[in-house]
Structures are given as C-alpha cells and as structure tokens.
Amino acid sequence: MIEIKDLHKSYKMGSSSLHVLKGINFNIAEGELVAIMGSSGSGKSTLLNILGILDEADSGNYILDKTPIKNLNETIASRYRNKFLGFVFQSFNLINYKTALDNVAMPLYYQGIKRKERYEIAMRYLEKVGLGTHSHHLPSELSGGQKQRVAIARALASNPKVLLADEPTGALDTKTSYEVMELIQGINDEGKTILIVTHEPDIAAMCKRNVVLKDGLIIDDKMVEQVRASSYV
C-alpha cells in the first residue's frame, strides 16, 4: 500500500538547516496497523505529514497505492488526500461552528456527493463510532474522547485507503485513550490500513507493527504481539 525509499526532509531554521528525515525506507502492506514511535524531534510527525501529502519530501520516493507522490500541484494533492487518505489529529481539528454530522460529511462534500447522500453516509459513520445520538452537537458540546471519535468518523467517511493518526490519544486521558484505540483496532480488523504516530509505548503495543525513529532514521522495525485495547476498557 505504501512504499517509501530514501526519504529526506530538511527545514530551514534561519540561516541554518535542520535535517529531520535522513533517508527513510519502509513498506506498509494493506491491512497493517503500524505505530511510528520516537521521542520528540525524531521526525515521526514530519514523516506522517509527508505520507499524508500535507507536506513534501525534499528527495526520495513515495508510492501510495501504486501512485507516485511527487511534485504534485496543490489541486492534485488535495484530490489524492481526499481519495486515498483519512486524517486523525491530536487536537482533533474539527470545525468549531459545524455540528458533528457536518464535520463528518465534509470530506464527502469535496468528493462531490449530493447533500442528502453525504449526510446519510456521515450518520452511518457517526453511529459506527457510537455517536449517533450526538450528531447535532457542536464540538464545544463534546468531550475529548467524543471529539476524537467524530474525527475518526470523518477520516473514515470518505472510505480512504489509509488512515493516518497523529498522536490520536495525545490529548485524552488513559481510559478514553484505550476506548479510542479499541475503536481503531476494530476499524483495522475490518481491513483498513492504519498508521499511528505515538510516543506512548502502551499505545504502540496495541498496534501490529512498531517502527521506531531516532534522529531522522529508522532504528527499529518489528512486528509485535498486539495487545487488545478491549482488555483495558
């Protein structure tokens, strides 16, 4: 599903340059649940942003579902994001003035789906994450865990190939984190490819594969025995 070869990324910091990714190589197969781990500054979020076509690598190859992702203009990049990818952010990134249902329906608007149909789809996904009764709540009326569920429903609504989650439990308490991970594991069980960036070992332990970054390089990449979140909930 994802092929990465010799990926490099630097940021300009005034007159100097910060080399964040120094040649990343790895492949992710369809249906995997991968945790990308590493301490702060290791480059894990930068990698996720590049995989999400939110940012661009300086060099290297990135192939997403057999489609080379390189030198895309913003219009094509937005089309690929909509078609291939779903995002879950640490800070949820819901639009505050839109209800849960409106937020979930938004990627479908950019797919050109008619209003009635997109709200039906959005409702299905809200019910899937257990928030069918909260569809007309604004984000400000939801708890942290509920917001992240709405974000997951939104990420899934456009039926992407890959779900990318950047610290999805970073803003949640332990119990809520496990509930969100249980939901993610369930989605993965249905066959969705999921990448999670986390610095929490217990969250990583709930994934099937752990990739560890340090100073912009992969220092470990192993399959792990998956801990089921349901055992904590």
Binding site: N49, G52, L54, D55, E56, E74, T75, S78, R79, R81, N82, K83, F87, F89, N93, L94, I95, Y97, K98, D102, M106, P107, Y109, Y110, Q111, K114, R115, R154, S158
Partner: protein, 414 residues
C-alpha cells in the same frame, strides 16, 4: 456557474457564524452609510454656500443714472439724468432675445411707514413683477407684486420681514392697511431676503402705482437685467460686456450723454465679479470630491481590513478543509462568494438606510449654510459596487495565499 451545493455550504458558514457575519455586515453597511451621508451632507453644504453667495440673482447687470461730466450737443455738463419708462421699454425691446430677467424700479429712501400706533422709516421700491427674482427673495406669506397690480395701479405692498416685525409684532400682516408716505397700501405679502435685515427693511409696491400715487410720472431709478445662462464663465463674461456696452450706448444716445462721458449712465456688471463665485463653486465641488474620494478610500481600506482579518481567522479552517480534500480553487471560491454576498447585502442595507435618512431627515435640518442634502443615486451605486469589488479583492489575495500554502502550515495556525 451556479452551484446550489456550494451556496448551501456558504449559507451554512454564514448562518453559523452569525456574530462574524453581523460584524462584517455592520462594518460594510456603516461604511456605505457614512459615505453616502457624507456625500449628501457635502452636497447640502455646497447648496447652502451657493445659496448664501447668491443673495441676488447671479450675474445681475444694474443700471443707474448720474450726472453728466461733459457738454454734449449744446447741453452743459452737470446735468442729472433721469430714466423713464421708455428707456426701459426700448432696452428690453432691443435686447430681449439675450435676456433672462428684466426689471425696472423707482426707489425712495426714508419713507414714513405706519400701522396703528407703530411707525418707522423704511425704503420703498416701485417694481415690476420680475424684480422679485432679481432680488432672490422668498415670499413667506401671501404674494409678490404681479402684472394685475401693475395694470390696475393697485395700492398693494409686499413688505420685508423687518417691517412686518416692527409694525405688526406677532400679529398677522396680510390684508392689513399700512400707510406709506400718507397713502394707504394693503399688505399682500411678506418676504425674506438672503441679503439680510437691510434688504428686509423695504416694501415693494407696483411700479405704476408708485409713479402715479406719488406723482413721479414715468420716472424710474434703476434698470436690472440678467443674461441667459451659459456654463462657460469666459463666454458669459464676453456676452455681458458686449451687452453692457450696447446698453450704455443706447441709454447715452437716448439721454443725450456724450459717448465718452462716463458720468451720466452707470452700469454695474456683476458677471465680472462672478468669477469669484465660479471659482468658489469649483473649489467647493473639488473639496467635496476630495472628501468623497478620501471617504471611499477609507471605506475600501476598512472593508479590505475586515476581509484580511476574516481570512486570517479562518486559516486553520482552510488547512482542515485542504486536508479533507478542498482544492485551492474551492477555498478561494468559498471566501469570495461569502465576502461578495455579505458586502453586497450589507452595502444595500447601508445604502438604503442612508438614502432614507437623507430623504426624510434631510429636509428637517435645513439652515442658511445647509440646504437640500442629497446624493446622486448612480454615484451611490457605483460607490457600493466599488466597495464590494474592493472587499472581494481584499478577500481574494489572502484567500489565494492561504489556499496556496501547505496545509500543514495552515493547520498549525492558531
């Protein structure tokens, strides 16, 4: 192309951000409102100043008689010239096609006026009906001297506000008999004059009555003319100078005054001095254009500033939308549609409110220096279109920039 889905999305954004929409609308509406009121007030001030300047009709040519200084055809110098009706009639006959107003008067200063126990000394003038327009006076009660009064030698008087106040105090003067120089005259009108109290201490009587009742025969004191209007000052001046020369020649010839004698026939051509009026009028118009343009610039800057703030405030939302698949075009289109919609609706509200205010409140705030505040509707509409365009442009550039930046940068915006 009209896209109902896009408009639904836009209306949702507008309706769910009521405060932002309201504040933007209020800013735009108040901008247009202030601009139109300012333009209207400017016009009112201009009208008021023009009115003040035109104490008498613009471009009067006044003729009076004097004493000759040169002997001519056996007549000694030092002869007092006295105009008569025939001088006036022949002048009118000869130059009628060039004239706008024409009037003749017989003036008498210091005449005793009385009504009951009240009395005073004022000027009276025997006048022809068009003289009212020469003096630019305003009838506040009753009427002015008319052709019927002239034809029937009616003993009627149109008195100035000063005389009315002095003789009648708060009482109504219309229809009352006053005594002027020992003869009873019926008050048929009361006037005010932009020339002030001095010109309101007068009574206007029919010229024919003054000539007969006071034994003046066919004598007249002054002749007044204005020329047909032209917009070009230089042309107006040239025409009036030729007319005054021809008129002088005619009157000198009729009254046996030497052609090179400046003493017998006096003519004052106010068109010469009207240059000042033409210039002042030009400066006033330039000033209000300048004020108007500055106000429009202020409005454009204000609307632009609002749009800049709105787009800046929505940078993170733009990042989220882009992450979810919004193309740069859809982002720019959304912001432009919203801004044009809000500025147009709000602009029309502001425009309507200001026009209603000018229409209904304008007449209540008339004063000497402020008259008929009004604004050209086309100018107001053009201004509105300009502000809407400016708002759209001001929204376009930050929207374009926001649509172009990497979504990850927009998402980091707080």
């Amino acid at each position: 192309m009209f896209n109902i889905e896009r408009w639904q999305e836009i209306f949702e954004a507008i309706s769910k951000n009521r405060l932002r929409t309201f504040l933007t609308g209020v800013s735009v509406a108040s901008g247009i409102f202030i601009l139109v009121i300012l333009l209207g007030a400017g016009k009112g001030l201009q009208n008021g100043i023009e009115k003040q300047f035109e104490r008498d009709a613009a471009g009067i040519i006044e003729v009076w008689s004097g004493t000759t200084t040169k002997e001519y055809k056996g007549l000694n110098p030092g002869r007092q010239i006295q105009y008569r009706d025939a001088d006036y009639k022949q002048s009118v006959q000869k130059f009628d096609d060039k004239l706008d107003l024409r009037a003749s008067t017989y003036n008498y200063w210091g005449a005793p006026f009385s009504y009951g126990k009240e009395s005073g000394s004022y000027q009276y003038r025997g006048v022809t009906p068009e003289y009212g327009r020469v003096e630019n006076l305003t009838i506040v009660q009753g009427r002015y001297v008319n052709d019927n009064d002239m034809a029937n030698n009616e003993k009627v008087a149109c008195i100035g506000m000063k005389i009315k106040t002095d003789l009648f105090k708060d009482k109504d003067a219309l229809g009352k008999e006053i005594i002027i120089n020992g003869i009873n005259f019926k008050v048929v009108g009361v006037f005010t004059d932009p020339g002030g109290e001095r010109e309101e201490a007068r009574a206007y009587l029919p010229l024919t009555t003054v000539q007969r009742a006071f034994g003046n025969g066919d004598k007249i004191s002054n002749l007044f003319f204005t020329m047909k209007k032209t917009n070009d000052y230089d042309e107006a001046l040239a025409q009036s100078e030729k007319f005054t020369k021809d008129l002088k020649d005619l009157l000198k010839s009729r009254n046996m005054v030497a052609p090179d004698d400046d003493g017998g026939v006096g003519v004052y051509n106010s068109v010469k001095d009207a240059k000042q009026f033409y210039d002042l009028n030009l400066y006033i118009r330039l000033f209000f254009w300048w004020v108007g343009i500055c106000t429009i610039i202020a409005g454009v800057v204000g609307v632009s500033n609002i749009m800049l703030i709105i787009v800046k405030e929505r940078t993170k939302e733009i990042g989220i939308r882009k992450a979810l698949g919004a193309s740069p075009f859809s982002i720019i289109s959304m912001i432009l549609h919203e801004s044009i919609f809000i500025t147009t609706i709000a602009g029309f509200v502001g425009l309507l409110a200001s026009l209603l205010l000018l229409e209904f409140v304008g007449p209540m705030v008339q004063s000497e220096y402020f008259q008929n505040p009004q604004v050209d509707f086309n100018v107001a509409l053009t201004t509105l279109a300009l502000l809407v365009f400016a708002g759209a442009m001001a929204g376009f550039f930050p929207a374009y920039r926001a649509a172009k930046i990497k979504p990850i940068v927009a998402l980091r915006d707080e």
